[in-house]
Amino acid sequence: MIKRFGVGGLDRRALLKVGAAAGLAQVAAPFVISARGEAPIKIGVANPLTGTYAAPGKNESIGMQLAVDQLNAKNGILGRQIEMLIEDSTSGDAGAAVQKTRKLIERDNVDFLVGNVNSALAQAMAQVSNEKGVLHIVPGGHTDPITGTDCKWNVFRVCNTTRMEANAVSDLLFKTYGKKWHFITPDYAFGHTLYQGCEADLKKLGGTVTGNELTPLGTTDFSAYLIKARAANPDVLVVLVQGNDMVNCLKQISQFGIDKQIHVAGTQQELEPVEAMPPEARVGVWMFEWYWKQAAGTPGLDDFIAEIRKRSGKVPTARTWFGYVTIHAYALACEKAKTIEAKAAAKALGDMELPPEIKLQPNKVYFRGGDHQLMLSAFLGELLQTGDGDPENLFKVNSIVAGDSIAPSVADTGCKMNMPA
C-alpha cells in the first residue's frame, strides 16, 4: 500500500538513505574544501588536435604538459597548483577556434589563454582574449601583425614573426645560391607576410623574383606549380609552405629531380615534416626556430630532451619547446608580479629575459616590451638525409643567430602598444 504513495519507484527506505547521505555530505563538505586549499590556476589551450596541424599542435601540448608537471611538483604558481584545459581549435576553422576560446574564458574561467598554431586562428583568438582582458600567449602562429600592426597589451608571442624568418635566411640564400628566386607560397596570412618579407629582403640585396606560386593550404599535388617554377629558370626555388604541404612539395621536388637542377631551400623548416619525408626529399638550406642537437653543456638541455623522450618517445621539436616556454614564461611573469592578475602579469612579461634552463640555447632570449615578441635565436643550417650516424638528427646547424639581430625594430613592426592604466 505504502508504495502507491511513494515518489515514483522510490520506497521509503531508499528515500531515507538518500536523505541521510545528503545530510552527511552537508556536514562533510567544509572539511573537503579546506583540505583542498586554494583553487588551482586554470590554463586554457585552444590548439589544433585534428587536421593538417594536429602534429605540431600535439607537440606543443607535450611541451606545455611537461612545464605544468615541473611547476606543480615545485609548488605550482604562487603556491597554487596548475590545471590545464585543452580544446581542439581545428586546423583551419577560425569560427571553431573563437567558439572554443569563448568557452574557455566564459564557462571555464581560465586565467591564462594559449593558442594557436595557425596564424589566422591565433589572430581570431587574440580578438577575444583582448576583449575579455585575459593574458594570452601565441606559442606558434607566425604572421607579422600578431606582434605588429595588430599588437595588443595582453598578447605575447613565443615563435618568430615571418619577417624575422625571412631576415634570418635571405642573406645566406642570396650568397650561397644566387639572385633569381621563385617562390612556392601557402595562400593565407602566414604565407603572404612571409613572402613579403623575403621579397623585400631580396630587393634590398639586388635580386629578382621570377614568380610566386600561391598554393591553397592542404595542396596535395604541386606538379603544376613546379612545372611553372622550373620553366621560369630561377637560381633558387624557395619553398614557404609548411606542415604536410611541405612534405608533399619536397617529396615531389625530389621525385621530379628538380633539386638536382635548381637549388631548393626555404625559410622556416620543422622537424615534424622532415621526419615524415623519405630521406631523398630532405634537401636544402633552412632555418629551424629551435633545434635539439646543440653544443654539449647547454644548461638544462639534456634533461629537457630526456623528459620529452620519456613522454613522446621522440626528441623535442621547436613546437615542444614553444609549449614549454609558453607555460614557464607565464609562471615567471606571475611570480615576478606576485599576482596572476592579467595587467600586472603582462607588465612583468614585457622585457623579461628567459633563464638558461628555460631558453635552452645560446644568445639572450627575451620578450620585447614594445611589441611583446620573444627574441629567440634562429638555427641556420641544412637538412641531413639520413642523420650523421644518429637517425634522429636530421638537421646540421651551421650557425645560431640572435633574435634581436634579425628582428625589425619595434617602430618598423607597426606596433603601437596601449597598456591599460
Binding site: T50, G51, T52, A54, A55, G57, K58, D187, E213, L214, T215, P216, G218, T219, T220, D221, S223, A224, Y225, L226, I227, K228, R230, A231, N244, V247, N248, K251, Q252, S254, Q255, F256, G257, I258, Q261, E272, P273, E275, A276, M277, P278, P279, E280
Partner: protein, 289 residues
C-alpha cells in the same frame, strides 16, 4: 607557353587517372547501394598505412598487393556490421554514418600511428624522371597510370563479362527486379562494397608514394573524386573515368593561367555541368532521384 600548356595537360591526365581510381570506387558503391561514402578518404588512409606497416616484411611490391586486399576486408566488415542496416532508409542516414566513420578512421590512425606523418619511400627504380625535358613524368607516375589503367580495364571486363558483373550492372539500374529474379542482393552489395573499398585501398598505397602519409591525406582527394562522379554522370562508370581525367586536366591548365583558381576550377566545372546538363556528361536521366 605552348610547351607549358602541353606539360600541364599531360600532367593533368596523370593526376586525373588517380582521381578516377578513387571516383570509380565511390561510384560503384553509390550506384548499387545508394550510399554516398564519405569514409572513402578514410579507407584510402587505411590502405596507405597498412602498406607502410607491411613494407618492412613484404617490400613495396608485396604491400602494394596485400594492403588493398586487407583494406577491402575491413570494408567488407564495415558493410556487414554497419552500413547494411541503413539500406532501407533515407540516404541521409548512411551519409551521416560514413561521415562519422571518416572521423573515427582519422582519429584511429592518429592513435595507432601518431599525429605526425610517416616517411614512405617507393623503390628507387621508380623515383627518377624519365627525361630531363619531361621531368614531371617520373617512373612512379607512369607506374601509377599503368596500375590505374590495368585495374580499370579489369574492372570493366569483370562488369561486362562475368555473372557477378552483369548482376552489379543490372542492380544499378533496377535492384528490385534483380532481387525478384532470385539474386542474393545482400551478398552482391557486400561484395560490391568491398570491391569499391579495394580501389580506395589501392589508391591509398599509390598516393603514399607521392604525397605525405598522414591521417588527413584522404581529405584533399575525396572532394575531387565526388566532383568527378558528378561531372561524369551518376550511374556511369565510363563517365566517372572521363570526369576524373577532365578535372585533372582542367586544374592543371588553370594552374598555368591563374594558379590560385586551380582548386576552385573543378567546382566551377561541377556547377556548369549541373546547370547545363544536370545528369552529367554520360549519366543516365533520372539516376539517383
Amino acid at each position: 607557353m605552348l610547351q607549358l600548356i602541353f606539360f600541364n595537360v599531360t600532367n593533368g591526365l596523370i593526376i586525373g587517372a588517380f582521381y578516377a581510381l578513387m571516383a570509380i570506387g565511390l561510384s560503384l558503391i553509390l550506384n548499387l547501394s545508394g550510399v554516398i561514402n564519405f569514409a572513402h578518404g578514410g579507407f584510402l588512409v587505411i590502405g596507405g598505412y597498412l602498406a607502410y606497416a607491411l613494407t618492412p616484411r613484404l617490400g613495396f611490391w608485396g604491400a602494394l598487393i596485400v594492403a588493398p586486399f586487407l583494406t577491402a576486408l575491413i570494408g567488407f566488415a564495415v558493410e556487414r556490421l554497419l552500413i547494411r542496416r541503413l539500406y532501407g532508409r533515407d540516404p541521409l542516414y548512411s551519409l551521416l554514418l560514413t561521415f562519422g566513420l571518416a572521423f573515427i578512421i582519422e582519429d584511429g590512425t592518429r592513435q595507432i600511428w601518431g599525429a605526425n606523418g610517416l616517411p614512405f619511400s617507393v623503390p628507387a627504380a621508380l623515383t627518377s624522371p624519365l627525361s630531363y625535358q619531361f621531368f614531371f613524368i617520373t617512373g612512379y607516375r607512369m607506374f601509377m597510370v599503368a596500375v590505374v589503367a590495368i585495374v580499370v580495364a579489369l574492372l570493366f571486363v569483370l562488369l561486362r563479362y562475368t555473372r557477378i558483373g552483369v548482376r552489379i550492372r543490372a542492380g544499378t539500374l533496377d535492384l528490385e527486379t534483380v532481387a525478384a529474379l532470385g539474386v542474393n542482393v545482400r551478398a552482391l552489395r557486400s561484395l560490391n562494397f568491398a570491391v569499391g573499398i579495394f580501389l580506395a585501398g589501392l589508391a591509398g598505397v599509390l598516393a603514399a608514394g607521392q604525397i605525405g602519409l598522414e591521417p588527413t591525406m584522404g581529405d584533399g582527394l575525396l572532394m575531387p573524386s565526388f566532383i568527378a562522379i558528378i561531372v561524369g554522370g551518376v550511374g556511369s562508370l565510363t563517365g566517372t573515368l572521363l570526369g576524373g581525367l577532365l578535372i585533372g586536366v582542367a586544374s592543371g591548365l588553370t594552374a598555368v593561367i591563374f594558379p590560385s583558381a586551380s582548386e576552385a576550377v573543378i567546382y566551377v566545372m561541377m556547377a556548369i555541368v549541373l546547370l547545363v546538363r544536370p545528369r552529367g556528361l554520360l549519366g543516365e536521366e533520372g539516376m539517383l532521384t
